[in-house]
Amino acid sequence: MDPLGIARWQFGITTVYHFLFVPITIGMALFIAITETAWVRTRNPVYLRAAKFWGKIFLINFAMGVVTGLVQEFQFGMNWSSYSRFVGDVFGAPLAMESLLAFFLESTFIGIWIFGWDKLKPALHAACIWLVAIGTTMSAFFIMAANSFMQHPVGITVNEDRSRAEMNDIWAVLTQPLNMWAYSHVIAGAILSGAAMFAGISSYFLMKKRDVPLFRKSVRLGLYGLLVGSTLTIVTGDLLAKVMTDVQPMKMAAAEALYETSAPASFSIFTIGSLDGSTEVFSIRVPGVLSFMATESFTGEVEGINNVQAAYEEEFGPGDYRPNIPVTYWMFRLMMGAGGAMLLVSIVGLWLTRKGRLPKSKTVWLLAMFSIAGPIVGHSAGWIFTEMGRQPWTVVGLYRTEESVSPSVSGGSVLTSLIVYTVLYGILAIIEVGLVIKYVKIGPPSEAEALAQIRRGPPRRGGTGGEGDAQGTDEHEDRPLTFAY
């Protein structure tokens, strides 16, 4: 059994699965923080009810993001030990920073946020969810820096004696242009994901005409989020594409199935290539657009697959340096299509709900509910594109995927873990989606319930009644917890 192929499938499955939850977590944390801040500032209980409701849905997702993230960190050492030896000096640093600066922050403050409604003053409690939101966005920054290093290694020298990459400039690793745009692109996409959850789930309530005042506010917040998120996704995606054309010409050419270097290069909407991916059979093209995407000029030159292949053969010796063209080509289109669809949904949605209006048609709301799928498809396609487009390298130009796999781990072991993860993830997905649907149907707490859940204890003897009062005997020891697992 070939451990390489199985390990690659495992990385693909576990990463795409992990990233179903990550952008939703990042995006929802932001929108819940906004909602809770609205509660703190206006004291309008509708915002508290909304924060409570969205918090439940958020936490169901958050748990999955956390536990599937463990696999991500462990599998570099488990499945890709040779890769880990080669890149550890540089790749480990952002991972370590991520755990120290981001994971501690989010996991500690999420605990306080969940259980602290009746223990902290409202403003301090809202600050906790902001810290969670900041933690999640910082986490993405470091992991994107690590990923960008694999796409375009900078800030290192290769030590031939130790056969490893050695870091000499962390600043370059963290702030290289590819990372700045890839990171912005991911955060924009995460805003999109969180916004789609808000807009999509709110649509369900508006279709059922339940809690309309609350969900009108949430659907508008979600639709504005979709507008901002999709616009930023498109802008950052465009800027990322230009950097990528520069540093990863093969990936950009593969994204377009552009075989021969062209100036101007047309953008293909639809292409059928020969099965080995070396030639084009049929295509529909828009002139000059690819040139613009890649170079900011409608007549700019874009390198083709065959030309880059020839250049790589010269540089790295004989071999096939082409990624899987059909996969990269179609994933690129799927990703862009999802982003465009979200922009459309946000514009139509904001128009239909303008000035207090709400569409009566159930079909409109039903369609809006499906917008939740948009960012999920977009993120998955985007990651498959960017990781498959990097092949045959793990670190472009320096280290190949086939060299990266653990030599001491048998195909049987990798297959075992692949099966275990897949089955476990499948079961958890069913439970997770079931819980989300259940809590959506339960709906937000009533005003009385929500207010009861944040009631802090009466002032204690000698204390000031806040969270910082002195220890001592508590007259209300047996007062029921307003919230308990």
Binding site: G77, S82, S99, F103, S107, G116, R479, P480
Partner: protein
């Protein structure tokens, strides 16, 4: 060399932090159906760790990530060598994390009972497996000249590693029981105290056995001293738990400090006996990974040192604050009724 030593110590500290903190939440999980006899009791147990377990677990993520950054060879050899063992550990961590978060979100006794068993089994498994893992690290594994593992999964289940695993299992259960004595009231606290006293003695015996065996395998004066401190602290924890009840005056806090010190000394003893190796080879000492040949460059180690020095105080500060916010004991009377049907608003 200073940096290599420093980072060896930091990795040790991260594992100590992990075992001291998650050690008690493993213990609480393991005692879920034993100390928490009924639904309310179990909920008291879960709520004592509910706000903090996730923060505790980040310590292992950090230990892994910093090992990757500071000692990539160690990370690569260890994680690929312990492949199937780590798979079991990961499955336990995944199921356990989800179980804590999802248990209370269901509306039937069957749902809750299933997650209870999930918490219980994974907590037992993890408390045992981490000890087995460190038993193997201390004892050494079959690393070849390229630092690749050439042994099998069954080789990891050697007697020394298993004894060390049983030692951590009993130790974490004791630590968890002592934590529960500190965080609960009345009958639950009484059950926790008696569990701490009985399991604590078993843990001390297993620990003495493991520490003695470790000394024969590759002990130093320092590792032996730390091992003795670990056993003595554990017994002190048992005695303090016992006194707390008799005098009618709580010594639960001190008992917890004692079991925490026991865990810290035991783990530090592992690192003391390893030093200067990080992963010894049982084939040939020349194939061992040590703090020099496993380490990153001075540039990376220096960078990570600054990051750790600047941010650790902040993290320790807010993690301590989270324990302060939830410092009060929880009683069964405070737990609301568990729902049996889905509410509809």
């Amino acid at each position: 060399m200073f940096l290599n030593n420093f980072w060896f110590l930091i990795i040790g500290v991260l594992w100590i932090g992990y075992f001291v903190l998650e050690g008690f939440d493993f213990g609480v999980g393991a005692l879920l159906r034993i100390v928490g006899k009924d639904e309310k009791g179990r909920r008291v147990l879960i709520n004592t760790i509910g706000p903090v377990w996730d923060g505790n677990e980040v310590w292992v993520v950090s230990a892994g990530a910093f090992t990757f950054a500071a000692f990539p060879e160690w990370y690569a050899s260890m994680f690929s060598a312990f492949y199937l063992a780590l798979l079991v550990i990961l499955v336990c961590l995944i199921v356990r994390g989800v179980a804590f978060e999802y248990r209370g979100k269901g509306h039937s006794d069957v749902w809750r009972a299933r997650w209870d068993w999930a918490i219980l089994i994974t907590s037992w498994g993890l408390a045992l497996l981490w000890g087995v893992a460190f038993g193997n690290i201390v004892r050494g594994i079959a690393l070849d000249a390229d630092h690749e593992y050439v042994g099998t999964f069954l080789d990891l289940l050697n007697p020394f590693a298993l004894v060390t695993g049983l030692c951590t299992l009993a130790l974490f259960i004791t630590h968890g029981a002592v934590y529960l004595a500190l965080k609960t009231t009345l009958e639950i606290r009484d059950r926790a105290r008696s569990t701490a006293m009985s399991v604590g003695v078993v843990a001390a015996i297993l620990m003495a056995l493991s520490v003695g065996w470790q000394h024969v395998l590759r002990g130093t004066a320092l590792s032996l001293t730390l091992g003795v401190i670990a056993v003595v602290s554990l017994l002190a924890g048992v005695v303090l738990t016992r006194q707390g009840g008799r005098a009618g005056q709580s010594r639960d806090g001190w008992a917890f400090v004692a079991t925490a010190l026991s865990i810290a000394s035991l783990a530090l003893g592992w690192f003391a006996s390893l030093y200067p190796d990080v992963l010894p080879s049982t084939i040939d000492p020349a194939y061992s990974l040590n703090i020099t040949n496993a380490a990153s460059t001075p540039y990376t180690l220096t960078l990570m040192s600054w990051i750790a020095l600047v941010f650790s105080p902040v993290i320790l500060g807010y993690q301590a604050w989270s324990y302060w916010v939830f410092r009060k004991r929880i009683s069964a009377k405070q737990i609301p009724e568990s729902p049996t049907k889905v509410p509809m608003h």
